[in-house]
Symmetry: C2
Subunit: 370 residues, 2 copies
């Protein structure tokens, strides 16, 4: 047998072997090889928000590196292909293969989506990751998303957000009445029970609305992102905490038939790359927010905590909204009950070593001994 003939024989034998394996194992990944794939990702963020947009970019970079450049995902900022809030729709209808977004932008279609991002008095960022990876969250949310032909991956977290920028102080519950605030979805519904008038305004339009006084307040994310949008120039009271986002998960949504068509090892790479990008985004916020909050305070920003009375009223109002939605939405009820059960367990546990450790360290920070 010549060398060339031998090579052809081995190749044929190899193909035959693979075919035999395929007949006993359902679609083995090995039979699929490592194809060249090009996808497009539409993000809900402008490129200037390097924290959020970086989540999409890092994911794409890790996937490319892990596949030796064979699986390339090109990221587009919100508005380049479709508007920021229509990212998931573009995935569902197949305009793009995937997007990077906040699930609560889908609140209007079904409030269940909001559970995959942030809900009032929900889980904090650490709890959200635990619930997603080990608490059944990934499976519960994906069972719901499959109904829309979406496969989702956790990819980023802001951790607890600030409560937003206001042109005047909010000392009492009465001060909330009639306040026109840029706040959306679930939190807007809760706020409206307190007399706040929620306004839906895209990120880029908030600053002029605050400046002109068309609105009295606006929430966005936290110091590092908010500083870029300039709110501190026109509304100096910066409230905390954003009780509607004790943590906020960001997500990759993939068109499900497209996801199902990927070789199994590309799916595995996507899962690992999403987890990596998830941790890097949290880290970037953690590193960038302290410096940003110091710059804002130096620029005259006044930090204000929401009073316990205001938080209590919001908590009560939120529980009413949870009950109302749960009474008429089985998907929401099922997933919220899983989160809620874990929330109670976890906040018992976090009072022990975590909270006592952090409290002691915060006392030292205030004493300037760190």
């Amino acid at each position: 047998m010549t060398d060339l003939k031998r090579r052809r024989f081995l190749k044929t034998a190899g193909i035959a072997g693979t075919a035999a394996a395929a007949s006993t194992l359902a679609a083995p990944a090995i039979a699929q090889g490592s194809p060249e794939i090009r996808w497009r990702l539409t993000a809900s963020w402008p490129k200037s928000l390097d924290t959020l947009y970086g989540g999409a970019e890092n994911f794409a970079k890790y996937v490319s590196e892990a596949t030796d450049g064979k699986f390339q995902i090109q990221s587009f900022a919100g508005g380049e292909i479709v508007p920021p809030l229509q990212a998931t729709d573009a995935v569902i209808n197949g305009t793009v293969e995937m997007c990077h977004t906040a699930q609560y932008y889908m609140w209007g279609k079904d409030p269940t989506w909001a559970l995959g991002c942030a809900v009032p008095f929900g889980l904090n960022g650490r709890q959200q990751a635990a619930w997603w990876y080990e608490g059944g969250g990934e499976q519960l949310l994906n069972a719901f998303h499959a109904k829309s032909n979406v496969y989702s991956l956790l990819c980023g977290n802001t951790n607890a957000q600030m409560g937003g920028w206001f042109r005047k102080e909010l000392n009492t519950l009465d001060d909330m009445k009639g306040v026109k605030m840029r706040i959306g979805g679930f939190a807007g519904a809760v706020m409206s029970k307190l007399g706040v008038i929620p306004q839906q305004i895209g990120g880029g339009d908030i600053y002029p609305a605050l400046e002109k006084g068309t609105i009295d307040g606006a929430e966005w994310v936290g110091p590092y992102d908010d500083e870029k949008l300039g709110f501190y120039k026109v509304a100096k009271y910066y409230y905390y905490p954003g009780w509607w986002e004790g943590g906020a998960m960001l997500s990759l949504h993939v068109n499900k038939p497209k996801w199902d068509s990927l070789p199994k090892h590309y799916q595995a790479i996507c899962k690992a790359a999403a987890a990596y990008a998830n941790s890097v985004m949290s880290g970037r916020y953690e590193i960038q927010n302290p410096a940003a909050v110091k710059r804002l305070v130096a620029a005259g920003v006044q930090l204000r905590p929401f009073s316990e009375a205001i938080l209590d009223a919001c908590f009560k109002s939120a529980n009413e909204v949870y009950a109302e939605i749960s009474a008429k939405n089985e998907d929401f009820k099922k997933i919220w009950e899983s989160m809620k059960a874990f929330r109670a367990e976890s906040y018992l546990w976090q009072q022990l070593p975590d909270n006592t450790y952090d409290t002691y360290m915060m006392i030292q920070q205030r004493k300037n001994t760190l």
Copy 2:
């Protein structure tokens, strides 16, 4: 041109194209292909600790899945190849390609290693991940590890640990004097300044020592892991927080020449898989610890916080040890100063939305309204 000829022509053209690319780009990963690789990993844990050992197993699983089974890493429990505390030595001397361990086990060789796991009054788990991924930690630690021919990856975190099990209450600083406690490394050095007599005892030997009264106390991890070792049966006071482990990073150590020999895309897969396994381990602790602490309390365990006076004395003592080591160890000083600067910044920031949100939620947990 026949079909067969055309295919041969395309194939040749493809190879020529790759060779041309290779001459302009330094050692492109594509030239390395996807070889079959078999490695061994020795862990510092028994298989019964599914949290810690699960970190190694999940990493290996994700790598296998992402390489379509081509890169296989077989995990061994502590003691199967080398004893638990000699895992890193086995990597350095090439007995195994990699290990999964806690870097502070290398404290005796150089205290700088401890910074890659946990140090008294150091960063909490969330801060550790941020410092590693976005705060320069990965680069600083790897520059140090390279001196020992080790490449390291963050792969797991316990978050804040408990302060350990004691046969009697520790109400005052005087109660600490003469207490024989199983506690190692850095924390042991800090404790000894308070009159505690630190004991080095392997995990499996703690229970009989506590039972016989050879020691008065012992620290391990937290409720879920500690419960498995049965300490609650022989020492009923369970203290918190473990101020020497406000977070504890677990690491993968790879023999550096072996790491450098991997195709670039296998390295990328290892990095993403480690980040994935890192998040899953934290999640598993978060899910499992609440139920474990409830079982322990039901079994008669008495939870006790360390008093602020005891914590203050430990903090002072720890700062003395930091100064002593920094005065004679440049590597330690450089890395600790990076962590320390971030610690002060981050504990300023975490007092705002994160701490106020969590505090409000913990109040609700105590009111039983969650």
